[in-house]
């Protein structure tokens, strides 16, 4: 009884206050990186795991984003308001003729800005000269058209001029035709053997991403086609440029307007859809690779956790010593958590650098603009930090849970 009273008196009276144990934030970094400084190789290797994960994620995001913005820029330049009208292909792949009235009829649709009729002349072939046996055409076609084509496709000439009225028969070569025939320069005497006649080459076109069939065609005027090649005047493929806001409305009217009698045969398409589809493919394969990057990161994080668990086991004596020096469990946990955080932050930093480097390299090799989304960099680093915390949490708790006396009894 008197003992109890004595203690109570002590509690309020003479017993001094216990000062708190405290670790300054400023001391946490050197304390938390002590283990890393002692075991550098191990630290670098385990940070590398995180770095690889982050690098692959940043690179995937950067590369898909760069190629995507390249495609988007292309789309932007080419426009999504170009439509093509064909009457289907026959079994040999030759375009079937549309009614001769198709082009003027299409011009009347409201929302149509420009129309360019073309006709594939399947009976004619184009050769470098008249010595090459017939048959070896290499997929090159002859196509009749008029001056409206260049405007409608918003194309440009690499060399020379477009189709004009001339004394002699004149042709303008698509990009692929010129390359395949080996024509790189133009002078007054540059000719090709086309449908059994000599045609002077007036110009060479730049490539058309949205109309690759033009790249593979030697273009001649309708007049020349009629006069020299027996062409009947019906178009087989018509290009339509519409008001960007009325693309779908116009597209719906194309088939019926072009060929009222057999509208079901007509195919109206939007070539830019291929690019749009390409972007979608990029995005979905990007998601797949991002998933692979996430797995790499997970492996990296497990690597850190593993190294940290080993480190806690190896450093039992140090933990016991620190508890003897006055460290609380929280201080011990904070020390190990800091260690794992520093590891993952280093890994994250390295990963962002490597990933960005890969993206820059890819973009330069492919001639894209470099577009690394800031979210990839910030996110990559953030994800690294989060995985470091998660990886360090369990080892840190293990270290904190160790009783000081058990820790001290470990020899060595």
């Amino acid at each position: 009884m008197s003992d109890v009273l004595q203690d109570e008196k002590d509690a309020v009276g003479t017993r001094p206050q216990i000062k708190r144990s405290r670790l300054r934030l400023y001391d946490l970094i050197p304390t938390g990186t002590l283990g890393l400084r002692t075991r550098r190789t191990r630290a670098v290797l385990s940070a590398l795991g995180i770095a690889i994960g982050i690098a692959s994620m940043v690179a995937v995001l950067g590369v898909t984003h760069s190629s995507e913005s390249h495609l988007l820029a292309q789309l932007d330049r080419l426009g999504t308001n170009l439509l093509t009208v064909v009457n289907g292909d026959d079994l040999g792949g030759t375009e079937v003729a549309l009614p001769a009235t198709a082009a003027p009829m299409l011009r009347r649709i409201s929302g149509v800005l420009a129309v360019a009729p073309t006709a594939q002349i399947s009976t004619a072939r184009v050769y470098r000269n008249d010595q090459i046996p017939t048959g070896q055409t290499g997929g090159l076609a002859v196509r009749a058209t008029d001056a409206s084509l260049l405007d409608t496709l918003q194309g440009s000439l690499k060399l020379g001029r477009f189709l004009t009225v001339a004394d002699a028969p004149v042709t303008v070569l698509g990009h692929d035709v010129a390359r395949q025939l080996g024509i790189v320069r133009l002078d007054a005497g540059t000719r090709v053997w086309l449908g059994g006649h000599w045609f002077t080459v007036a110009g060479i076109l730049d490539p058309f991403t949205l109309a690759p069939e033009v790249d593979r065609s030697a273009l001649i005027s309708f007049a020349a086609a009629k006069d020299l090649l027996g062409y009947d005047g019906a178009p087989s493929r018509i290009y339509v440029r519409t008001d960007p806001d009325q693309v779908t409305q116009v597209a719906d009217l194309l088939a019926h307007t072009a060929n009222p009698a057999n509208s079901f045969q007509v195919k109206a398409s939007r070539p830019s859809d291929a690019l749009t589809a390409q972007i979608a493919v990029k995005q979905s394969s990007g998601a797949l690779f991002l998933g692979l990057g996430a797995i790499a990161l997970l492996v990296g994080a497990i690597g850190i956790a593993n190294v940290m668990v080993i480190s806690v086991l190896e450093r039992r004596a140090e933990i016991g010593l620190r508890r003897t020096l006055g460290a609380t469990r929280v201080h011990i946990a904070a020390q190990f958590l800091t260690e794992s955080l520093v590891l993952s932050a280093l890994g994250g930093f390295g990963g962002v650098l490597i990933g960005s480097g890969v993206t820059v390299g890819m973009a330069m090799a492919q001639d894209w603009g470099i577009a690394i989304p800031p979210v990839a960099i910030g996110g990559g680093f953030g994800v690294a930090i989060v995985s470091g915390v998660l990886a360090g949490l369990y080892p840190a708790m293990r270290a904190a849970a160790l009783s000081p006396t058990d820790a001290l009894r470990t020899t060595g």
Partner: protein, 221 residues
């Protein structure tokens, strides 16, 4: 003034069968004393030291350390007590090998939350007290066993704690080096440090003003 008082302290390690390492120890240490606790291997010396230094709580009985009842303190309060009032020296030194001598000594003040400059200044002074000022900037891995133990002693006394415990401080040293450590501890005691040395060596016990003999967890003399 009584710095440390044990009343009927017992420590039982649970298990099959349970191990009763300390069995009813009564003991008082006055400020300024230097006492030895001597006993054979396995007699419970380290267990007793852990209890006295507030590293562990007794199964029963009371430990009053620097006026505080260890058995009722929270973990946080115990940590505070260890950071501010207690110093411990171990047989295995337990130095941080990546650090220099002065950094190791300064780590004795790390958990007081005082600025690094002040810790370092106090560490330099403590190293001077143990005669190691000239090896201050050397990595502890470059030091001899005796020098390492002097670093550990400096770390224990750097914060001028109320009491310093040493568990077999000469256990890993040859007798010459052990003698040096003993005389350093005596000097520190003469300067006012209260010291409790746990040992199995007759010689160490003889160097203290007073010694207590334990056998199988009980004080026999």
């Amino acid at each position: 003034m009584t710095v440390l008082e044990l009343r009927d302290v017992r420590k039982v390690y649970p298990g099959e069968p349970p191990v009763e390492s300390v069995r009813g120890v009564n003991l008082a240490v006055e400020a300024g004393e230097m006492i030895a606790i001597r006993g054979a291997s396995g007699s419970g010396k380290s267990t007793l030291l852990h209890l006295m230094a507030g590293l562990d709580r007794p199964t029963s009985g009371s430990v009053r350390l620097d006026g505080q009842r260890v058995e009722v303190l929270t973990d946080l309060q115990l940590a505070g007590l260890r950071a501010w009032r207690v110093g411990v020296v171990f047989q295995q030194f337990f130095l941080l090998e990546a650090l220099t001598a002065v950094e190791n000594v300064a780590s004795g003040l790390l958990y007081r939350g005082i600025p690094a400059r002040q810790r370092r200044a106090a560490a330099v002074e403590a190293l001077e007290r143990v005669g190691l000022a000239h090896r201050m900037r050397h990595k502890v891995t470059k030091l001899s066993g005796g020098e390492r133990q002097r670093v550990a002693i400096a770390r224990a006394v750097v914060g001028r704690p109320a009491i310093v415990f040493a568990d077999e401080p000469t256990g890993n040293l040859d007798s010459a080096k052990g003698g040096e450590i003993l005389s350093i501890m005596r000097e520190l005691n003469e300067e006012g440090t209260t010291l409790v040395v746990v040992t199995h060596e007759e010689r160490v016990a003889a160097a203290c003003q007073r010694f207590i003999e334990i056998r199988d967890g009980v004080v026999v003399s």
